[in-house]
């Protein structure tokens, strides 16, 4: 049977749940109507031209790219618009930062070691490994504590005169730890003033205030779909003094680091999503934090044998809930919850024969059997308290059904 037919039948069997709540904002996202409305004109009404060609639709596109750059620069405290480059995803922005930096020969004269944290997104870890192999560099992973934090004291021992690049995220994408990044940057730069510091801020952007000047980072990644913008746009901030070699080759346009025609409709959508996210920033964050606490406390107090992954409160980003339900496997729970219209993801190893669960959960010291039962919820301003109530009604029943079947009995 063709994959498409099989999945069609699967969806028919699944049915359309009476109520749906989407919590899988980590992996992809739905796009609000006002964002879609900001995108649509750029497909066929205006700005559908190439932003580097001298005609009206091209100039319209150019205007939109720069309006978005201005907004990105303003929201992260960047001084110069040329320091913002659009890519087609956060993954691409991370790849550009790491591969682009290492590919530049002059940069490799700074040293022979890349340092990343053990809990980075795979779009940081894999390019760092790849770049190390390609150019014969050393790569070190800084361990984290049980809550996902890099200890600045320990970090001191990883940065030395041979370190050329450090990449540590601002907020962890799975367990929500907000790193003490300013402190880590200071440690790195006092150990070696030539170190270039990249941070993946995809999960921090619009959730904590960011100022690249205050943080003193050299490169920073953000991503559109993490803030209810469309998939297909990311951006990399690169301080003017830092020079990169574009890892992809092709015709350059507005962007001097990433070839190909800029995805103007989606860039326009990203701009709209930024506008929405930064309007009433503090109110929005505290609203979501209250939902987060309700969801997390409701799960922990209502269901036995649950572990919270990541910081309990202080140092945890406002939109992240990650818990492990012991004695059940996460993939089964995502399917069971899906049948009831609750959409989440798991750090279980359901998709590999070797059954390797989330590297982040293993890095914070979770045992494999604990990581296999993990479920990640991400919240946003579009969730209502009634959505959380529905989740808290549904999850205990789902967990109970699977535990009743489980061959892993409680002690």
């Amino acid at each position: 049977m063709r994959v498409s037919s099989k999945v069609k039948e699967l969806l028919k069997e699944h049915g359309w749940p009476a109520r749906e709540v989407y919590f899988d904002l980590e992996n992809s996202n739905w796009v609000p109507r006002e964002v879609v409305e900001a995108i649509l004109p750029f497909f066929n009404e205006r700005g559908y031209g190439h932003p580097s060609v001298t005609h009206k639709p091209g100039w319209e596109a150019l205007e939109e790219v720069y309006l978005t750059k201005e907004l990105v620069a303003k929201t992260i405290g960047a001084a110069d618009l040329d320091e913002i480059s659009f890519t087609h995803s956060g993954t691409e922005a991370n790849n550009l930062a790491i591969l682009g930096f290492i590919a530049k020969k002059d940069n490799r004269r700074r040293g022979g070691k890349i340092v990343v944290s053990a809990v980075e997104h795979l779009s940081v870890i894999f390019p760092a490994e790849y770049a190390s192999q390609l150019f014969g560099l050393k790569m070190q992973r800084v361990p984290v504590d049980e809550y996902g934090f890099v200890d600045p004291e320990l970090f001191k021992y990883y940065v030395d005169r041979d370190t050329l690049l450090v990449s540590i995220q601002l907020v962890n994408h799975e367990v929500g730890s907000i790193q003490k990044l300013k402190e880590l940057v200071d440690v790195a730069k006092s150990a070696n003033p030539n170190v270039v510091f990249h941070t993946d801020a995809a999960d921090a952007y619009s959730w904590i205030p960011i100022d690249v000047e205050r943080l003193h980072v050299d490169m920073m990644t953000i991503s559109s779909h993490k803030i209810h913008g469309p998939r297909g746009v990311g951006a990399l901030y690169v301080r003017n003094e830092v020079l990169l070699e574009p890892p992809l080759k092709g015709q350059l346009s507005v962007e001097k680091l990433w070839p190909g025609v800029e995805n103007v409709p989606l860039i326009a959508g990203f701009r709209k999503a930024i506008e929405i996210s930064f309007k009433g920033f503090e109110h929005r964050v505290s609203y979501v934090k209250a939902l987060r606490d309700k969801l997390m406390n409701g799960i922990v107090s209502g269901i036995p044998e649950v572990l919270v992954n990541g910081p309990l409160n202080k140092g945890r980003v406002a939109n992240n809930v990650n818990v492990s339900f012991l004695r059940i496997e996460g993939e089964a729970l995502t399917v069971e919850l899906s049948l009831h219209g609750i959409y989440v993801s798991s750090g279980s190893a359901c998709s590999s024969r070797i059954l390797e669960p989330s590297h982040v959960l293993l890095a914070i010291g979770r045992k494999r059997e604990e990581a296999h039962g993990s479920i990640l919820f991400k919240l946003s301003q579009y969730h209502r308290e009634s959505d959380v109530d529905y989740a808290l009604e549904t999850i205990p029943k789902a967990v109970e059904r699977l535990r009743a079947i489980s061959s892993w009995k409680s002690c």
Binding site: E329, A349, C350, S351
Partner: protein
């Protein structure tokens, strides 16, 4: 999250996951055997009650418990349905491929779910004949499914063994 792989389950997997058959422990089981472990991410426990009918040993009833993904639960459920009422000789011949086919063809990354279910079954059949005369159809050597299950379990044992060694050294 870990690297993700699309999982085009057939509708049968979802249908059985929703309504699995023959669930739960069986107090009067003749043999109880498990395959896999929580650390591996999946573990099936199989309960079988065997009845002798002349020279035939027949599965009177079977049930299961499963810690695992949707495909794992579906594989264990369909296995119990297939073996009920069959002789142990017939049950022995059930292959992982047959379980996968019964589920509408599992995605390759999920083959191990049907391997685990059949591995547990084969262990249970061997356990039944442990202190009895071995029937002619029961091979001495381990089958593919049994070897795979053992490999998965040993891999985790090795991992935890090496972790324990590191922790002991730190002490």
């Amino acid at each position: 999250m870990s690297t993700r792989i699309p999982l085009p389950y057939g509708p049968k997997v979802l249908e059985i996951f929703r309504n699995p058959k023959n669930i739960g422990r069986m107090d009067d089981a003749t043999v109880i055997e498990s395959a896999g472990s929580p650390a591996c991410g999946d573990m099936i426990r199989l309960y079988i009650k065997v009845r002798s009918e002349g020279d035939r040993d027949v599965v009177e009833k079977s049930s299961f418990e499963s810690y695992g993904c949707a495909a794992n639960i579906a594989a264990a459920s369909i296995l119990t349905e297939l073996v009920n009422g069959r002789s142990l000789e017939e049950a022995w011949r059930i292959s992982w491929k047959q379980i996968s086919d019964e589920l509408g063809g599992l995605p390759p990354i999920k083959y191990h779910c049907s391997i685990l279910a059949v591995g547990a079954l084969k262990r249970a059949i061997r356990a039944y004949y442990l202190n009895k005369d071995k029937p002619h159809w029961l091979p001495q050597d381990l089958t593919l499914e049994e070897k795979q299950v053992l490999e998965e379990e040993e891999m985790i044992e090795r991992y935890y063994g090496s972790m324990k060694a590191i922790v002991d050294e730190l002490k």
